[in-house]
């Protein structure tokens, strides 16, 4: 684990006392800070709580909110609750995966995005919905996905050509499908 991450993790561990019930809250805290659970962090948690590493690993892999691999800069959660499903949530997910270029594990090569399906964000009245980091978007038709993601893309280097089209994603020479629908 990189030294920088290690320095982040140590003080987090100090916030909690050594009871077993703190296992999930500690892992949540590390996940929130590092955006994943580094292997060395799992070891340290096991040592701190005096539980077998296998127990820590079991918990870390059982619950959906934990990731053992680094996540992209932006976490895109596409809702696949029932209301979203009947209004095209699956298509929104697929479109999001294509637009962000994520791999089978859900993260894009440039580490800009991690895309995951979630089972209901509880905004069913506004289906289909999608959450990027802390912002929830309503009525996300598949044809709106590209436009919606634009603001989360890295800025192009300030070449003269980029200045003409500042907010448009690199591959969107195809024209923004964005806000037609």
């Amino acid at each position: 684990m990189p030294q920088a991450e290690l320095e982040q993790v140590e003080p987090l561990l100090q916030e909690f006392d050594n009871t077993r019930a703190n296992l999930i809250p500690i892992l949540q805290r590390i996940q929130a800070t590092c955006s994943y659970l580094p292997q060395e962090a799992l070891r340290r948690v096991a040592r701190k709580l005096q539980v077998p590493l296998s127990d820590v690993y079991q918990v870390a892999t059982f619950y959906r909110c934990f990731s053992l691999k680094p996540r992209g800069k932006h976490l895109v959660q596409v809702c696949l609750g029932t209301a979203c499903h009947v209004r095209g949530g699956q298509k929104v997910l697929e479109r999001t995966q294509v637009e962000t270029g994520v791999d089978a594990a859900g993260t894009s090569a440039d580490m800009q995005f991690t895309v995951e399906a979630v089972r209901c964000l509880g905004c069913c009245g506004l289906a289909p919905v999608m959450r990027v980091d802390k912002t929830t978007f309503a009525h996300v038709a598949q044809t709106k996905v590209r436009g919606l993601l634009t603001r989360y893309r890295p800025r192009k280097p300030a070449t003269s050509e980029a200045e003409k089209t500042p907010a448009v994603p690199p591959e969107s020479t195809l024209v923004q499908g964005g806000d037609h629908a």
Binding site: P25, F62, V86, K91, G122, G125
Partner: protein
């Protein structure tokens, strides 16, 4: 939180002093502007609306009060803005943009009826039984704007659980008390014995609102009598059913109602510690609950010697980690203990052996929110609402293909047709209603022909579904029932904890068979196989997840067998959903070559130059249907 000279609160008079402050906050002498700031409101743009409101009030130096409120349940009209002018009815505006909000405010006191959704001349409080009128004189109706009382969406509702949602600022302890909050706690602690409280709950006939419908009074009695100490109360706010967000609405809109219910419950059963287990997908609910706990601690309504009664109680929030199975009570307890959320054999029930092996009373958010009203109004009053087997009201999230997507609270026994056609306003675009799905992945699909069914625990079970936590997803003829069965099986396959072979493998095999059918490779014998597998999964699995996992298959097979047979015998998906069985085409007569579809095509399968006829190259078509969604000329067809 400001101290109103009375903390810690010790008596009814102390409460009344705080209530007075709360009333002034709720109905100030100046005009008040409220924005609905629940998660769904924010998703629809309420944050920007609130910002615009604050800007215009500051810029124009207007003497107005700006306040946040929770969700009143009118989801299809979010973001919602309300204007309350003293002596006049409250006016609600829907689908407000920041610009529109500024226009509305700058026009005050002229109410702009052309943009108004509804007016509220007063409100009824089910906790106190009192009606408060906002009017000083005659109600002068706004031209063309209906009162909430006359709107089909609201007139059949009876709000016990949602009594304060959308009326108070959920961050205000004083406003909750102004609505009669914490008087039931005072009443329980100072005028009743714990056993009398339990008796009141038993008399009310309330059954658990989390889904299974176990009589709450009997559960409380068991925990009360169980040997062991300390005892715990837990609020199950791990609202995992997809399509259900009633609990989020209450936690975000009226967090103190849950806290008060839990404190009363703790007193009744003899618990000293409480835990609210909230799913991590609800960050605002977590924040609201934590704030509410802190406020109650400051006011002395949590901690030691509450209301000078000698009774002490503390509450903390535990955030879930994203596992649907943790909605099951034994799995939830394991999760609080820091373990994987695998359900345990029952009995012993948590009421006898729960958290840390001690007697534990677990109830759902909605159940807890009912408790203060039952104590305040009495068990008999509560039992007078509803049907013989199901008392009180139930909150439902009415979503899917319906005109008024909404959070509604109706008396038990209201029929599905009243809910869908009257309250929900029917199906958009005059399409045909096909079914309603209740009870989440443990429930089933009820066909439109059965909509005269009264909604209560027993009728829904008899119809092959369950009440569940209250999600109601309306499906029109664009929904394929085979696809829905596949969807739920996929969900359960993902969420099965893996402990029982029958559930882990059973859901996978069931999904394989349904998938095969949806791809047109099924045979009629598959239907028999589905029924047989379903029986096995139900009979052999340990917890509720597995025992009900087959319901979505069984209920769709029971009511929509023809649709399965269409897929099997004719390789046809009547709803045109199953991708392997449909093809998209462009109608050469209607297409004007605008090129919109070319830009959105995910498979780059559409060929054709600008202003010339476009065609779809089937080999590359991913059947995503984006071309159909984007085409303004209805030139894309699906068959």
């Amino acid at each position: 939180m400001p101290n109103h000279g009375a903390y810690p609160l010790r008596s009814l008079e102390d409460l009344q002093a705080v209530a007075k402050v709360g009333r002034q906050r709720m109905s100030p002498a100046q005009p008040k502007i409220m924005v609905g700031m629940a998660t769904c409101g924010q998703a629809a743009g309420a944050t920007e609306v609130l910002k615009a409101v604050r800007e215009v009030v500051t810029q124009d130096k207007l003497p107005y009060v700006v306040s946040e409120t929770g969700c009143i349940g009118w989801c299809s009209q979010e973001p919602l803005l309300d204007i309350c002018i003293p002596g006049r009815p409250r006016v609600t505006y829907g689908r407000v943009t920041p610009a529109r909000a500024k226009q509305i405010i700058r026009a005050l006191p002229e109410p702009k009826p052309q943009w108004a959704l509804a007016t509220m001349p007063g409100d009824e409080n089910t906790l106190t039984g009192l009606y408060t009128s906002y009017l000083t004189g005659e109600d002068t109706p706004l031209r063309g704007v209906k009162s909430y009382r006359d709107l089909p969406l609201f007139k059949r509702q009876l709000r016990i659980v949602m009594r304060n949602c959308g009326l108070i600022d959920p961050a205000s302890f004083e406003e909750y008390i102004a609505r009669g909050g914490y008087t039931a706690l005072w009443q329980a602690l100072r005028t009743q014995t714990p056993q009398q409280v339990v008796d009141g709950i038993t008399k009310s006939g309330i059954r658990g609102r989390g889904g299974a419908g176990f009589p709450t009074g009997r559960k409380w009695q068991t925990v009360r009598e169980a040997p062991g100490s300390p005892k715990y109360v837990i609020c199950n706010a791990d609202e995992g059913d997809p399509g259900a967000y009633m609990d989020r609405g209450v936690l975000e809109g009226d967090p103190h109602s849950v806290l008060e219910g839990m404190t009363i419950g703790a007193y009744a059963i003899g618990a000293s510690e409480g835990i609210i287990y909230v799913r991590e997908e609800y960050p605002l609910a977590v924040a609201r609950m934590k704030d509410a706990i802190q406020q109650s601690e400051t006011a002395g309504l949590l901690g030691t010697n509450i209301f000078g009664s000698g009774f002490g109680f503390t509450v903390r929030v535990v955030t879930g980690a994203g596992a649907f199975v943790c909605g099951e009570e034994t799995a939830l307890i394991r999760s609080i203990e820091g373990k994987v959320g695998e359900p345990q054999q029952r009995p012993p029930y948590p009421a006898v052996r729960g958290l840390n092996g001690k007697p534990t009373c677990i109830n759902n958010v909605e159940t807890w929110a009912n408790v203060p009203v039952i104590v305040a109004r009495g068990g008999e009053w509560f039992a007078s609402i509803g049907t013989p087997g199901s008392k009180g009201t139930k909150v439902f999230s009415l979503v899917g293909n319906i005109e008024n997507t909404a959070l509604i609270e109706v008396p038990m026994g209201t029929t599905l047709s009243e809910i869908v056609y009257e309250i929900g306003g029917g199906i958009p675009g005059n399409r045909e209603c096909k079914a309603i799905q209740t009870g989440g992945p443990s429930g089933g699909c009820i066909p439109a022909s059965k909509f005269d069914l009264p909604v209560d625990y027993d009728s829904l079970t008899a119809a092959g579904s369950i009440m569940g936590s209250g999600g109601m997803i309306v499906m029109d003829d664009h929904t394929c029932m085979v696809d829905i069965a596949k969807y739920f099986l996929g969900f359960l396959e993902d969420e099965s904890c893996g402990k029982c072979f029958s559930c882990r493998e059973g859901t996978q095999r069931l999904k394989e068979v349904v998938q095969r059918i949806s791809e047109g490779h099924g045979v009629e014998a598959d239907l028999v196989l589905l029924e047989e597998l379903s029986w096995m999964v139900r009979e052999v699995s340990l917890c509720g997840l597995g025992q009900t996992a087959a319901n979505p298959v069984l209920s769709t097979l029971r009511y929509f067998r023809e649709e399965y047979l269409e897929h099997i015998d004719h390789q046809r998906c009547p709803a045109k959903v199953c991708r392997q069985l449909i093809t998209f085409a462009i109608d050469p007569v209607t297409c004007n070559g605008c090129g919109a579809c070319v830009q959105v095509c995910s498979g780059k399968a559409i060929l054709g130059e600008k202003n010339k006829l476009h065609t779809i190259e089937q080999a590359h078509c991913t059947k995503c249907g984006a071309c159909m969604d984007i085409c303004k000329f209805d030139a894309v067809t699906v068959n």
